[in-house]
């Protein structure tokens, strides 16, 4: 029976796992960029006066938020290529598919963060803008968004940490993130304790500082808005 923990082996596989972690972090960062931008569009779309825009947008957001990311990932990776959609839309490699799936899924959460931020701007600000006869675009750009965005940052931060924790699902479609590497090591060496434990520790090493940063951001925003 193999021993529970082999330090030499653990040391051996560490570099590979770290490399996998870098991939996981990278794909998360790209996903964050997509979520930030797409989320804002979704938020504005949901607020639109035209029901033709606001209803489908709200429906889409609800649908994506109520269903598993894993299934959405599989849908993008396996199902889309079988459709008649143009190939540039369907033949993405696994890495791209993963950050698109993460980006879209978390854009729907980000849109809620933006929405809450926008709605927390006092109505008086809108009325002041009307009283100065500012154009809608100016009102958004110069008055509302500068106040809404900082308030949205803490919830956004939390969603991005959550995205990072979801990123390893890429291992199911062969994205070489930390989990994929751990599984590969398990298959090759039949040793499972070291790879998964190290993967877990690496994860903690990133997610705990990230969560602390978001908490600090929360405190700062709360302090400044009083």
């Amino acid at each position: 029976m193999q021993s529970a923990w082999d330090w030499e082996f653990a040391w051996e596989i560490l570099p590979e796992l770290v490399r996998g972690m870098v991939t996981t972090v990278s794909v998360t960062l790209v996903g964050i960029v997509i979520a930030v931008v797409l989320g804002l569009f979704l938020a504005l779309g949901r607020r639109s006066d035209k029901r033709l825009i606001s209803y489908p947008t709200a429906g889409f957001i609800e649908f994506v938020r109520s269903t598993p990311l894993l299934i959405q990932l599989f849908f993008l990776y396996y199902a889309l290529p079988t459709t008649d959609l143009p190939t540039w839309l369907t033949t993405w490699d696994a890495f791209v598919t993963l950050f698109v799936a993460l980006g879209i899924h978390y854009a729907c959460y980000a849109s809620e963060a933006y929405r809450a931020g926008i709605e927390s701007v006092p109505r008086g600000q809108w009325e002041a803008a009307t009283s100065l006869n500012l154009r809608i675009r100016t009102t958004w750009r110069s008055v509302i968004l500068p106040q809404a965005v900082p308030r949205s940052l803490p919830p956004l931060g939390n969603y991005f940490v959550a995205m990072f924790k979801d990123a390893p699902i890429g291992s199911a479609i062969t994205v070489p993130g930390v989990l994929f590497v751990a599984r590969a090591i398990q298959s090759a060496t039949f040793r499972s304790v070291e790879p998964y434990t190290i993967a877990g520790l690496l994860f903690l090493a990133v997610s705990i500082p990230a969560a602390m940063l978001v908490r600090r951001l929360e405190r700062r925003v709360a302090y400044e808005s009083d």
């Binding site: 006092p122 008086g124 600000q125 009325e127 002041a128 009307t130 009283s131 100065l132 006869n133 500012l134 154009r135 100016t138 110069s142 008055v143 500068p146 106040q147």
Partner: protein, 268 residues
């Protein structure tokens, strides 16, 4: 919305504000009931009355913060809520309303300053974005106006660093920057600590005394009203109960309701 009758422009020449049969309801509650109100250019009109009487709504429909259900509002020579199309008077487009709105400005009870901008930037924003001034021109104008309201040394301060009275004076400067024809004041001293009220009233006094700003004010400051108002309106339940020069209204009102209201307010 009733059938629009073609109402000819006011025969008294260009009033600053002309309200004809203005009606506004919130659900079941009729807040403005066929209101007729004529304000001359340069006139200072003070509106008093119990809370819930609808007096703030008068200002808000002029500022287009609420839309009227019926009636007409004219600013200067132009209809605010209606425009001419093929010789007919129809409901105005947003574009039309925007083209007149710069002539109207409002100062709010709770200031509504932009917290992420300095006093100077608050005053500069609209002239740059709406009137097309350059940044330098707007900055100069802002300095002049803030000096005028006594805040020349607070140009780069944020609203959070200012007292209530200072905030309100910035708000007044911000409104003045748009060079409106009509300024609306919605209980602008009600949210201030008593010792800060005076500095704001002084600015208002100066504005009123100049004679060339049309002012409509909702206020509880009866002392100010009796001093500076050209006309006082007693408003109750959606209608003008009575109106007249301050001497008349404050010293010898016609209606019992006005008498009891004044007694209650002035006994503080």
């Amino acid at each position: 919305m009733s059938q629009i009758e073609h109402v000819p422009p006011s025969p008294r020449g260009a009033a600053a504000v002309e309200m004809q049969k203005v009606t506004k309801a919130f659900g079941e509650l009729v807040v403005l009931n066929q209101l007729d109100l004529h304000v001359e250019p340069g006139e200072v009109v003070v509106i008093i009355g119990p809370s819930g009487s609808g007096k703030t709504t008068i200002l808000r429909v002029v500022m287009t913060l609420e839309r009227i259900d019926d009636g007409y509002i004219q600013i200067g020579e132009r209809q605010l809520y209606h425009e001419e199309k093929n010789g007919e008077l129809v409901r105005a487009s947003e574009k039309h309303i925007r083209s007149i709105r710069s002539d109207i400005s409002m100062v709010f009870q709770h200031f509504n300053l932009f917290p992420h901008m300095s006093a100077r930037e608050n005053v500069m924003l609209a002239p740059i974005k709406v009137k097309g001034l350059s940044e330098d021109e707007a900055a100069e104008k802002a300095k002049l106006l803030l000096d005028r309201v006594g805040l020349g040394d607070k140009l780069d301060h944020r609203p959070s660093e200012l007292s209530g009275g200072q905030k309100q004076r910035v708000a007044i400067a911000r409104s003045l920057a748009m060079e409106p024809r009509v300024m609306l004041f919605d209980e602008v001293t009600s949210a201030l600590d008593p010792e800060l009220v005076g500095e704001v009233l002084n600015v208002l006094r100066e504005l009123a005394a100049s004679g060339d700003m049309t002012m409509m004010m909702v206020t509880h400051e009866m002392g100010f009203a009796s001093e500076m108002a050209d006309r006082v309106l007693m408003f109750d339940k959606g209608r003008i109960l009575e109106q007249g020069p301050p001497d008349k209204i404050f010293k010898d009102p016609d209606h019992e309701r006005t008498k009891s209201f004044l007694r209650a307010v002035l006994s503080h």
